[in-house]
Symmetry: C2
Subunit: 181 residues, 2 copies
């Protein structure tokens, strides 16, 4: 593990702890940097904004690949929902727990409303690219990708903020609606 990677994780972890302890808005970036044993400037070299400390999702490539692999005759929304359904079966329990915790913090913070959507540009781009590889034209590919990601984010939010909610079941229900069922 390189040095950069180590401080990156230390910052991310320090931020999560502090956000959980005392809330997002009341926690300052200087405070986070201090707990991570690093200067404030360094924090902003690792994360472009304070928000980014919460929004690191590593699922983009997996989803895009799954969409690319769908049968040719499927329409955009079908290919996306089916691909995403497959991809989300592969993530492990630890990632799920961490994800849930982060979404909860986001949901509990008014200033972060829309933070997920704001941050999903790269994911949308990846999915749109996968659709274009299947012959969908650029504008339509972006429309479909943006729509599905927005729907997915919404579903994840209700999952994270509902007690005893089953992730797979929530996802299945959301993807079904998006597919037009």
């Amino acid at each position: 593990m390189s040095r950069w990677h180590r401080t990156h994780e230390q910052l991310s972890q320090a931020a999560l702890e502090l956000f959980a302890e005392q809330g997002y808005t009341t926690t300052g970036t200087a405070e986070i940097a201090q707990r991570a044993g690093v200067s404030e400037m360094t924090l902003f070299r690792h994360f472009p904004t304070k928000e980014a400390l919460l929004l690191t999702d590593p699922f983009d490539p997996v989803m895009a690949e799954a969409v690319r692999a769908r049968p040719d005759q499927e329409l955009p929304m079908q290919a996306l929902t089916a691909g995403i359904r497959e991809a989300w079966h592969t993530i492990d329990a630890d990632t799920v727990r961490s994800l849930r915790e982060r979404i909860r913090i986001i949901a509990a913070t008014p200033a972060l409303r829309g933070a997920i959507e704001r941050n999903s540009e790269t994911t949308v781009g990846a999915l749109a690219g996968a659709l274009q590889d299947r012959g969908v034209d650029r504008p339509q590919a972006h429309v479909a990708a943006a729509a599905v990601i927005a729907g997915l984010s919404t579903a994840l939010q209700t999952w994270a903020t509902t007690e005893d909610a089953d992730l797979q079941q929530t996802l299945a229900s959301a993807l079904a609606v998006l597919a037009g069922e």
Copy 2:
């Protein structure tokens, strides 16, 4: 026209002018307030954030009403896309021009990526409400509404940034994809 309404418009107009002249990020809130002949504090009493000066969209109620009026047997995504298609035929040319100008400024400003989505919470809520009135359960209604609004926003962005693009045609194409066609 009340006093409050007058300064509200003056601020909005001053902001649009300055953003168009010299860009969004380089224009300060104090500068906007000055051109509107008002103090900076007053600006923030009228608009909660600098972003809000750009994002005043008055279409929410029309769309929700149109969705409510759709035939009962339609599935969520169908009802939404069909309702929105109808609603957007009713807006006048002036509104379209102003909308296009604002979206262009947003698209030209990296710091505003995702600003539309961030601001669409009320619209999503209204559409989700309309769906729930049709018997769709809450989580699914929100998923569908968020998805369609995200797709719509994406379509509007490509429309605003493409020369000689026809609004109705762009919308029709986007809504068709969302409906699963």
